[in-house]
């Protein structure tokens, strides 16, 4: 009934306009990546893959991609591992100061990345250590840990303790219970958390710009330094590759995990 009223149509049109606004920049990057001409943006003069080929031949960009992939993967592994442990503590145990500590672990979300960038860099300077890949890694773990914690905690709340207690009463020890009961039930959240931290790390620019060096450039940092000259089809092509990578990975993983869980049951 309401679906046909004038008000509802206006809401729908408004929503579509907001979507156009949100997606226009993303779509335009992908379209322009195929623009064959060197200067200017529009009009397009046909479709060509020359900028993708040029990217594939650019060693600095290939290196940046390797760095980003390694960094994202290690960040995801580390912060998921740490996050699962912390989530277990917060959901399965009672202890003094629980709420305060939980807020402390989630606080990086509310602290500006600029300040995080400055703080970690300053600390490193005090310790008289040079910027390195390790700095990027620990920085990204701090950035992504709150998201992993939120996602895993939300799922863990929904897993009844009865299952774990049943396993224990049948003689399983704490580690066996976790491995056989909790971990499999938690798997979707772990996967989601790991993927989310991978993309946050892979995409991050604000704090990374403080931590990266010429040897440890990530793809967003590379895009930033290329932008200093002006926007070019080459940047759009690099952007398009990144978009395809960071958008299809979670969609594919979601699809696979659904398929996988269907096979199992």
């Amino acid at each position: 009934m309401k679906q046909f009223s004038i008000g509802w149509s206006l809401i729908r049109i408004y929503t579509i306009i907001v979507y156009v606004f949100l997606f226009a920049p993303i779509v335009v990057v992908i379209v322009l990546a195929f623009n064959p001409k060197q200067f200017g943006i529009f009009p397009m003069e046909g479709v060509s893959f020359r900028w993708f080929i040029k990217l594939a031949q650019n060693e600095a960009i290939i290196d940046a991609f390797k760095n980003s992939l390694v960094l994202g993967t290690l960040t995801a592994l580390l912060s998921t591992a740490i996050g699962i442990l912390a989530a277990m503590a917060f959901i399965r145990f009672e202890f003094p100061g629980k709420n305060t500590l939980n807020t402390l672990l989630l606080s990086p979300i509310m602290i500006p990345e600029v300040v995080l960038g400055v703080a970690l860099l300053l600390f490193l300077r005090f310790l008289q250590q040079p910027k390195s890949f390790a700095l990027l890694l620990i920085g990204h773990v701090v950035l992504t840990l709150p998201y992993v914690l939120l996602i895993v905690q939300a799922r863990l709340v929904g897993i009844k303790t009865e299952y774990e207690e049943a396993a224990k009463s049948l003689g399983a020890n704490a580690f066996q219970t976790f491995k056989e009961i909790t971990l499999p039930l938690l798997l979707p959240a772990i996967l989601a958390g790991a993927l989310f931290s991978f993309t946050i790390s892979f995409d991050d620019i604000t704090a990374t710009l403080f931590w990266a060096t010429a040897q440890n450039q990530t793809v967003p940092v590379k895009i930033f330094s290329m932008l200093r000259l002006s926007i070019s089809p080459e940047i759009n092509a690099l952007g398009a590759v990144m978009i395809v990578l960071t958008v299809t990975t979670p969609l594919l993983a979601g699809y696979l995990s659904r398929k996988f869980s269907k096979v199992k049951t």
């Binding site: 009223s5 600029v114 995409d203």
Partner: protein, 288 residues
């Protein structure tokens, strides 16, 4: 079950040590450094003096940037509420089977790098960008109009980045409303609009305010849109920090500006938490 008190602490040890070592202690260093002196040679001298703060407030140059940051953050918050509420309401009421796909789409920008979304506005609003190309083609203008590098484009970049956060916050709080309340209001003779105004809107306000806080905090701490889409007059406080730390390597002054930004946000977050509670914000980020 007998509580074994050491167990949660063992589980928390890695995350707590990470946060203490990589967040709490470094933040203390920022505060300490903000009192240090900078020698003309560029070296940092340990000291306890308020010179860096005095420098910030000695004339109007820096406070003006601080006030601009607050103004732009408020503008972004208001624009995000107006642009975000209706789509969130649409998801809430929609009975379409594509509802899930629509919701997934609104999260999609989260997966696209901030720098790509920001720089792409040049593709759209640049001199040979999409809008100019279109206007030239239909003959409305004779030569391209320059639209970039002003506060408007900075706001475009900011909204593009922050709107999904606002939509999600509002949507989560709308989803939490008991639909039977709406039915009750309709049964009592309310029109659709009255039911919205009296029931849905007030009950969704926690989500709106949580979204506002998150958007404000994230806007006030960002430097990318002003850097890429703004002109010289559109710098925000984070740009200042970036310039001092990465550009001129003036660590003490850069730290002092960071402390000023952090205190501003702390006051806002603390006040918010005091009256409204901060947990609502984390609720909306769980579903991602």
């Amino acid at each position: 079950m007998r509580p074994k008190s050491w167990k949660p602490w063992a589980l928390l040890a890695p995350s707590m040590s990470a946060v203490f070592l990589l967040l709490v202690i470094p933040l203390c260093f920022v505060v300490v450094y903000s009192f240090w002196l900078r020698a003309p040679s560029g070296a940092d001298i340990p000291a306890f003096q308020f010179g860096n703060y005095a420098k910030f407030f000695e004339d109007f140059f820096y406070p003006k940037i601080l006030i601009r940051t607050i103004r732009i953050s408020f503008e972004t918050v208001i624009l995000c509420v107006f642009m975000g509420y209706i789509p969130a309401y649409f998801f809430y009421r929609s009975e379409s089977r594509y509802k899930k796909a629509f919701l997934l789409l609104i999260m999609l920008p989260f997966w696209v790098s901030f720098i790509i979304r920001t720089m792409s506005w040049i593709n759209i609003m640049g001199d040979s960008g999409l809008i100019n190309h279109f206007l030239l083609k239909i003959g409305l203008i004779q030569s391209p109009i320059s639209m970039l590098y002003n506060e408007f484009t900075v706001l475009m970049g900011l909204i593009m980045y922050l709107l999904p956060f606002m939509v999600l916050n509002i949507y989560v709080s709308l989803e939490g409303i008991d639909k039977s309340l709406l039915e009750a209001a309709r049964c009592m003779g309310c029109t659709e609009w009255q039911a919205f105004r009296e029931v849905t809107l007030p009950l969704s306000l926690p989500g709106v305010s949580a979204g506002c806080l998150l958007v404000f905090v994230l806007t006030a701490g960002t430097y990318l849109p002003p850097m890429i889409l703004g002109g010289p007059g559109n710098e925000m406080i984070a740009n200042l920090i970036f310039k001092r730390i990465v550009g001129t390597l003036d660590w003490p002054f850069g730290s002092a500006i960071s402390v000023i930004l952090l205190s501003l946000l702390f006051v806002i977050v603390w006040t918010y938490n005091r009256y409204l509670g901060i947990n609502q914000i984390f609720k909306s980020l769980q579903g991602n």
